[in-house]
Amino acid sequence: MTDDTGALGALLLADARLPTGGHAHSATLEGATAAGLTADRVGEYVRARLATTARTEAAAAVLALRAAGAAPAGAPIDYGPVQAAVAARTPSRPLREASAGLGRGLARLARRIAPDAPAVAALDTAAAATPGLRPLRPVVLGALGAVLGLTEGQTARAVLYDDAQTVTAAALKLHPGDPLTAVRWVLDAAPDIEESVRRATAVRGPRDLPAGSAPLIDAWAGAHAHATRRLFVA
């Protein structure tokens, strides 16, 4: 691994072409659509997530990044507290499993690009904190951020941007519409993304992690898990 990968790493982690399984996810837009959410409200859906669940994930990724970097030389990295905190703030089982699935894909990438990095080896500490649950997406993303040299702001923004783009990309499969309009939705959400970046990077520790849950999204994700016709995992 060379140095100076931070800026590029931020782009890589935000790139839908990253082969870590994201293309099969809709950020619950498919469940929302089944429950009646219409195309004209997708932008609002993006912003609702940015203020709630995505903000929690962004803050968790920042905490994982810090956990990877803050351990004094030689001291073991422990992702357990942030893993437990984000799991506790993800009340929907299908969404915890979706996050663990995305984390698994990211962890495969992390092990491939930096198998010996302490930040990667320590991912086992996350799984140990929540038996039966693999390292969750924001935890692994924070670990990857550490490996690639991302700043806290870049890490948080990667999580938030990816969340927004997961919705808009899924919208193109689920709703009629112009792909260029979907770009507009993301740009329109810039203030929401930046506000959540500020909040996420201001988080002090796992106990302080915002519990930005969205009960309707949880309910839609629960129903989606039992749907027999679906394009997306969650």
Binding site: L18, T20, G21, H23, A24, K173, T228, R230, L231, V233
Partner: protein
């Protein structure tokens, strides 16, 4: 370009050379008989081989349901993955969901001999990445027309075996199976082509023998996963695809 063009043997998360399980992909257009072929292989081989199946449906888990209801394999050994409406991506550009399912089955039912992965096929261009599977069957059927084999594409040209399926229907659709097999063989530089009908025991036996042969070669290390490539025919001339298997569009 995928990072790995042959087996990812240096990957800490995969050690194909040491893996006893053969991962076999089944690709080809919708309706050519992939699910049926998998059901046939399960019925014929599950007595001698420990098997599991992953399906890639696009809108439903219909294929997994069909296979479970066929009763040819324990239902828990058949998994469906969602592909986000991108069945090509899921077997080639981002194989995460399939690799997860294959690894889970291999871990839960260890030791497995054979995992079959059915693509959610919708045309002639989709082939599996060798990072996901060790070998692949490409499936056409006679009902699609005798000229399909001449239309080419990576699966027809360079899959490990080409199956010309539903040979029993040939008289009803005006196709000369021998001619179709000969055309396909010519397009494939001699790689194997099998005419199969599920009702023709001899043809099914030939297919099973082919699978056993690949499994043996895989275990001995003689079989190197080949990438049929995503694009139009290979530019290096006959035989080049055997040596390096990168299948790029040159």
């Amino acid at each position: 370009m995928p990072e790995t063009t042959t087996a990812p043997s240096t990957a800490p998360d995969a050690a194909p050379t040491a893996r006893r399980t053969l991962r076999l992909g089944v690709a080809g257009p919708v309706g050519t008989g992939k699910s049926s072929l998998i059901a046939t292989l399960c019925r014929e081989l599950s007595g001698e081989l420990a098997m599991a199946v992953v399906t890639n449906d696009i809108y439903t888990d219909e294929d997994a349901r069909f296979l479970r209801s066929a009763g040819v394999l324990d239902a828990e050994r058949i998994r469906a993955v969602e592909t986000g409406a991108c069945p090509h991506t899921a077997i080639r550009d981002d194989i995460t969901a399939n690799l997860d399912a294959v690894e889970d089955l291999e871990a839960e039912f260890a030791p497995l001999d054979l995992v079959l992965v059915e693509s959610g096929g919708d045309n002639l261009t989709a082939t599996f990445s060798p990072a996901l599977i060790d070998a692949q069957i490409f499936c056409l059927d006679v009902a699609g027309g005798g000229d399909v084999a001449r239309k080419g594409g990576p699966g027809i040209g360079r899959a490990d075996v080409l199956v010309v399926n539903k040979a029993d229907l040939a008289p009803y659709v005006g196709v000369d199976v021998e001619r179709m097999v000969a055309d396909a063989s010519a397009a494939r530089d001699g790689r194997p082509v099998l005419a199969v009908a599920r009702t023709d025991a001899a043809s099914v036996a030939r297919l099973c023998d082919w699978v056993r042969g690949v499994l043996t070669a895989h275990r001995s290390g003689a079989h190197v996963p080949q990438d049929p490539g995503p694009m139009a025919p290979h530019g290096h001339g006959p035989g080049a695809g055997h040596g390096h298997g990168h299948g790029h569009a040159s």
